[in-house]
Symmetry: C2
Subunit: 223 residues, 2 copies
């Protein structure tokens, strides 16, 4: 089946406390976003890669591509004011029937195995979401106070979330709702049942300087 | 009110993949456990500190105390085969009426503010548990599959958990139950309502080499 990867890199850099948007910060010598793109290319070198960036960053990105002689084929699409609109616009670049992985640009440590598991499941069930189990003891807040909750029942959501393209495009025709915390919740609203698959704990979202340091260390250890 | 800190350091070092138990690994130049003890002493230099260690490590610890000229007053108690028995034994060294903080020896990054909030709440309500909210999107596994759960409702449990000494000693007279995931669940079984207070995100439990690296970095940033 025809495979696509929609890599969403909407960060403005403010949360990182830096001028450079986080997706362009260097990890092991090159922008984070390049590592992320490479992972999908490594998974399948015929995959169609679309990178969604804020309009103001497109030229900056093209300059980085030149500077780093980055040759992995990809298209760019312009993001919106909310992640919802960025994904919606990115999806308009993708033709069905196919499957599409929607991935955070700042998750360069996704494993090839995770990408593969997500695509395999989505090709069978129509969608898939990679998750990991938290390592801490947990409680859940209730009306009466709080109670312990078995951590095996709580799943931390990662990306890539992979979807039948027709289904996710239809889902993104809904009106934006702040309860949409990820792409799976957008699809779920249409009545689809979400399929969880195993992610990888190293697949962290880089949003703070400490995350970046951790990612550097994880990369060293994985090579 | 008379204050005690029971610092539980039962690690054998196996999970760290090292020969040295994790509580003795060096962080910023000295054993992790010394940093942890210092935090409670810094909070209140009249606090009564009891450190629970496996019997086989007591002499090793005493040698470290000499080697590092570690002068903070503390007693040592011998741990058991399960954390439950270690805490139970440690509690036998503590006299009521008083409040006791039970803390993981490998959480040296607890803040003074967290310790203070926990003691303050326990002196009013009889117990307190520091928690933080996860930063990831979450789902909860249900009979029918899974559903999103508001991450604000899920709390990651930390230590110190602080208790009215009489109440926690009584609770530890119960038979061991594998459902006891922390001290709060032991107390809760007696019918007490658990009180959640704000922890600090840096208060990580050091159980892997990567945690140790992260702790080094967090210490650098906090000074």
């Amino acid at each position: 089946m025809n495979k696509h990867a929609l890599i969403v890199a909407g960060g403005s850099g403010i949360r990182m406390g830096q001028d450079i948007p986080k997706q362009f910060l260097h990890l092991a010598g090159k922008p984070i976003l390049m590592h992320t793109i490479e992972k999908f290319y490594e998974y399948d070198n015929e995959i169609n890669i679309v990178v969604v960036l804020p309009g103001s960053q497109i030229i900056y990105w093209e300059n980085l591509v030149d500077e780093f002689s980055f040759t992995i084929p990809h298209k760019t699409a312009i993001g919106g004011t909310e992640r919802f609109y960025s994904v919606k616009n990115g999806l308009s670049y993708i033709s069905a029937p196919s499957v599409v992985a929607i991935h955070d640009g700042v998750r360069p440590l996704v494993s090839i195995e995770t990408i593969n598991r997500c695509f395999e499941a989505a090709m069978i069930y129509g969608n898939s979401v990679p998750v990991v189990t938290p390592s801490d003891s947990l409680r859940i807040v209730t009306n009466k106070g709080s109670k312990p909750v078995n951590r095996e029942l709580i799943k931390l959501i990662q990306t890539p979330q992979v979807f039948d393209t027709n289904k996710i495009q239809t889902a993104y025709n809904q009106k934006f709702n702040p309860a949409f915390t990820d792409d799976a919740t957008v699809l779920e609203k249409t009545g689809e049942k979400i399929v969880l698959v195993e992610g990888n704990v190293q697949n962290i979202k880089i949003t703070t300087p400490l995350d970046l340091l951790m990612a550097e260390e994880l990369m060293k250890r994985s090579t």
